[in-house]
């Protein structure tokens, strides 16, 4: 049990908000982490007790689910998309707030005799999307895109999209309106199930983040 704990953080949106929270929980990456020119993917913490890896948000969940990383920070959208049984999300960090929504063109045709039983939807979240539509009794055919979902309706790729919405500006700029909110999203501390059960340091890490989130809620 002498190997360093590995902590996975996502590139992009959540990271800027996550770093101060991590710092308060005592997880401070070495200075090279903030050096834009540095192409390394793995960094030590200042106290040398942990290793921090910076990967894509979806890969944070995968690294942690497989136990390749012990813990990490990722949005609840990603957690829901994979629905990995080996993943725990014991602390809501109350950062990175947005929502996952269904959107369609503002001037969508009103011709609607009854309810659709089959729809094509462009999204980065095919599993979550098909599960949500399934619950409405609709078989959703998901077209997996990695970005720029907002283009799909205007170019006839799909009538609807499912994507993250924070201010709604991007949707409006592309002539789309939000029709349903699938889920509110916030960043969570995630840990690997087996690691939490077998490595006391993981439990201590969860405890530090939890104490932090509770003191802030108070």
């Amino acid at each position: 049990m002498t190997t360093a704990l590995t902590f996975a953080v996502p590139k992009g949106r959540i990271l800027d908000e996550a770093l101060p929270v991590m710092a308060r929980a005592g997880v401070v990456p070495e200075s090279a982490f903030n050096d834009k020119g540095n192409r390394a993917l793995s960094f030590a913490t200042e106290d040398g007790a942990m290793r921090i890896i910076r990967v894509r948000a979806f890969d944070v969940a995968t690294f942690v689910a497989f136990g390749a990383a012990h813990a990490g920070i990722v949005g609840s959208d990603v957690i829901e998309e994979f629905n990995y049984s080996e993943l725990y999300a014991p602390v809501d960090l109350d950062i990175g707030h947005c929502r996952l929504s269904v959107a369609e063109p503002k001037d969508a045709s009103v011709y609607s005799p009854g309810n659709a039983s089959h729809l094509r939807v462009a999204t980065k979240y095919p599993n979550l999307t098909s599960r949500w539509f399934e619950r409405q009794g609709i078989q959703a055919e998901c077209v997996k895109l990695n970005g720029a979902m907002e283009l799909a309706p205007s170019l006839g790729l799909s009538l609807r999209i499912v994507d993250l919405v924070s201010s709604g500006r991007t949707l409006a700029d592309n002539g789309l309106v939000e029709t349903d909110v699938i889920m509110p999203v916030s960043a969570r501390l995630i840990v690997n199930r087996a690691a939490l059960k077998t490595d006391a340091r993981v439990a201590q890490l969860v405890e530090r983040f939890r104490a932090l989130s509770e003191s802030e809620a108070a």
């Binding site: 049984s85 993943l87 725990y88 509110p184 199930r193 439990a203």
Partner: protein, 370 residues
């Protein structure tokens, strides 16, 4: 010319070659030896059964995960077994219905499921286990936990860790202490499963939040759980857990996670998960349950040692093997085999002992190291 794609194995299936097979065989033999020594009789149910009969024995068996096909004879749906526990339940309810209780049975065999997942792509697994039928008492649970630990020790697992849980906890608390509607019970259980604090609040289970944090090393966690249980509906369960923990203390690292439900779909008041150092994911699980159809109480555990095999197969020791040259004394070979040696007999002068994996060579009547 051979086409490498012509012999491709389907996803999630693999050939075990000699070294890893040696590890599997050693583990299987060791575990079955421990179970037999503790008075558990081995049974061998068939690989294929009527789907309906497997499905009715236990809630946890999801028929959509079974390999199914129509029996050309009876025209009923057949399924390949995905969990031998249900088959042992059937045996206890039928063939051994009149055997005296408690009935101790054990089993070992391959089980399959129709699809793997990204996390667990394996579609075929070895399952080893024991069932104590006729009791789900604290004494029965303690015997099974102790037996599971002894089995893992014999299999060569180190750093064994046992995580206790109370599978019916939410149902018990939802009645009175922290009331929930039936729909909420499902949602709250799901979020407790994922230990999702944010999701739990949204599902209306805020009162259950302390349960998320009443997990950890057994002694601390059980105190926290006792603190949550102000009304005392859990008192007998907490006392039971303490007795089980006492019985196996020192043999394994013990933790408690009262709200854990992963893989405990059919367990009743008590469940446990087994972990070991260097083994990815869980090694096995067990607990108390009732056999579908007869509602007879039972306690048992199952091990799925494939990941343990992956962890140890590279270091699996090769047994000493002695090369018997052409024209050797057959009696000397037989004597060595009786002493536990493996022998490899030459077929022609061209046979090279080292290339055939031999560590020794028979000279006269004695093995000489190569």
């Amino acid at each position: 010319m051979t086409d490498p794609a012509a012999d491709l194995l389907p996803e999630g299936l693999e050939d075990r070659l000699p070294q890893s097979t040696a590890a599997v065989a050693r583990i299987e033999r060791a575990v079955l030896g421990v179970l037999d020594a503790h008075g558990y009789d081995r049974v061998r149910p068939p690989l294929i059964e009527f789907m309906q009969s497997m499905a009715r024995r236990m809630d946890g068996v999801k028929t959509r995960h079974l390999f199914r096909f129509v029996d050309p004879k009876s025209l009923r749906t057949l399924a390949l077994r995905s969990d031998m526990t249900v088959q042992v339940g059937r045996i206890a309810a039928t063939g051994l219905a009149n055997a005296s209780r408690p009935l101790r049975l054990c089993y070992a065999g391959q089980v399959v499921k129709i699809a793997g997942s990204q996390l667990d792509p394996r579609r075929e697994n070895l399952q080893l286990g024991a069932e104590l039928i006729g009791s789900d008492s604290v004494a029965a649970a303690a015997e099974i936990v102790e037996l599971a630990i002894a089995s893992l020790e014999a299999a060569g697992a180190t750093g064994i860790s046992v995580d206790f849980t109370l599978p019916d906890l939410v149902d018990t608390l939802a009645v009175q202490e922290f009331p929930l509607t039936p729909e909420q019970v499902v949602a709250v259980r799901r979020e407790l499963d994922a230990k999702d604090a944010g999701g739990l609040k949204e599902a209306g289970g805020e009162a259950y939040l302390p349960l998320l944090y009443a997990s950890g090393p057994f002694d601390e966690a059980i105190e926290k759980l006792a603190g949550i249980d102000t009304v005392g509906v859990l008192a007998s369960r907490i006392e039971g857990l303490r007795q089980i923990a006492h019985r196996v203390s020192g043999r394994a690292r013990l933790t408690l996670d009262p709200s854990e439900r992963h893989g405990f779909e059919y367990q009743s008041w008590f469940g446990f998960t087994l972990y070991a150092d260097g083994v990815r994911g869980t090694l096995g699980r067990g607990g108390t349950y009732s056999i579908g159809g007869t509602d007879e109480a039972a306690t048992g555990f199952s091990l799925y040692p494939e990941e343990l095999v992956e962890a140890v197969k590279a270091e699996e020791p090769r047994q000493n093997t002695v090369f018997l040259p052409l024209g050797h004394d057959p009696a000397a070979g037989a004597k060595l085999r009786a002493e536990g040696w493996r022998t490899v007999a030459a077929l022609s002068e061209a046979d090279d002992p080292a290339r055939l994996g031999c560590s020794h060579r028979l000279e006269g009547t004695a093995p000489v190291a190569i």
